[in-house]
Amino acid sequence: AFAGRSLAEESGGSTSNLPPHEPSWSRQLGHGVVEHPYGSPSAFEKDVVRRTVPWLTAESISSISMTPLAELKGIITPNGLVFERYHAGVPIIDPDQHRLILHGLVERPLIFTMDDLMRYPSVSEIRFLECPANGGMEWKGAQMEALQFTHGMLSCCEWTGVPLRVLLEDAGVKPEGKWILAEGADGAHMSRSIPIEKALDDTLVVYAQNGERLRPEQGYPLRLFNPGWEGNTSIKWLRRIEVGDQPWYHREETSKYTDLLANGKARKFSFVQEANSVITNPCPENPIRHSGFIEIEGLAWSGRGRIKQVDVSFDGGVNWVPAKLKGMVLPKALTRFSLEAKWHGQPWLLQARAIDETGYVQPTLKQLREARGTNSIYHKNSIHTWKVAANGEVTNVQIT
């Protein structure tokens, strides 16, 4: 298939660094150690960055940026590329002057420094984090031209912190305590109500991501983390947790993060991110450049637990083939799937369909629209379609 390529074509013109020649970088010394005490990506990777869609919001301070999923491998999102979502920008918090207050319906209201919190036994877990608005620009139609914008409000890190349960036990939750309110130290004082069952189950109070301390964008020095739930509930820059007997119905759980149906009624406290998936190779950013072998690759995830199976369709959902799950299959974490295929210019309508361990099967766009209309904004987890053209270009289309 490659007989036609000349050396010069392969390398964009110059052949002086190609064999049999000794490349310039092999004939000299490079920089030494601790030239970069904290390292950065190669300058050749300068296009692998977070991006925003400016028309989504009035300005950048209450806005969102997306992770370049098309360029990523495995399941870990490097900290520098985790998507951003702020309501009042990123506060610069001195960790020595940050406090967490835990109060309300508890026996002993407690106040913690960061040092205090880091003395508790820690747990580390690889879990996805997703904005419930991920994909939400496409309820009414396909309008995003790249994977970064259709699915990029998504990341997966190893998070380290203290189970909130442990702190609540130390404070002693009173029997009437049924909900908690978590609140941030940012200008938005972001607040969300969370049922006590979740708080006592797997909610974490987190201070590290992928080994190092939280990034400012992800809540430095402290955040909540609700595995599998809509990202907005994982309050960043966490400074206060109050235990109460009922939910607070704050702005982010009424005006926002409620799901308006076609009949005018809205679903509230829709916390779980249901099973979802997307194909990352090919995709608009990764068109098919060679005929012959191709690994169809993608990501699947479910807020209800482990991914059990992913199927792939080449014909827009008429027929399906099981894909292989590869690498680690962790609960509430990104999971990679893979299907080896051959492509010789035939048009494809590529889809992936995730099934999680509860048996839930990711719905079609038609099913989701039938159930919810097109005004829900959040929780659009329907099967996504990529159209592959004869020249290998990939575009975003919707099939109903």
Partner: protein
Amino acid sequence: EQTRYDIGRTASSEEIAGWDIDVRPDGKGLPPGQGSVMDGERLYEARCASCHGSFGEGVGRWPVLSGGFDTLTYERPTKTVGSYWPYASTLWDYVHRAMPFTAPRSLSVDETYAVSAYVLYLNDIVDDDFVLTQDNLADIEMPNRDGFFEDNRPDSPNTRCMQGCADPDELQMVGTIGGITPVGHFKQGADAPAASHEGQKALEEAK
């Protein structure tokens, strides 16, 4: 009594009071105070209208705060404090914690009562002589108070069909609208907007 880990210390009532700013539908959390629609109008014009408009109509892309009644079933609903929010407490709580946008927590308690009263007035929920207080806020009945229901998902799961799952002739395909996402970095010659608000501003000014 000793906690299991004996880490941290007891928070004092004073410490808690300074940060305990949340308000609930039943009025719990509201501090004593009051504010009239009249006082609210002046404050709103000075501190809010530049973004949200004199009538709550929203300037440019900033949020609309009023109107939109009975549009929740429309193709493009207008969700506002008046048309969508179930409780007045949410308004007081949010304005007090987050507004005005550029100076959060800068309003006094009485000022918060006043502007909240005014936003309710803009939505025809209270009259122009209304005075909002700690005691009457929880009694305000918002138009859409019955508009919400508990999460009952899964509401639309699929089945794992493998063969002939749809009729190919019936499939409708809709393509992407071109040119509205910032894809210049990977599409040669794409006339796409910039990937940042600043870049977007520059682009628009250049036009």
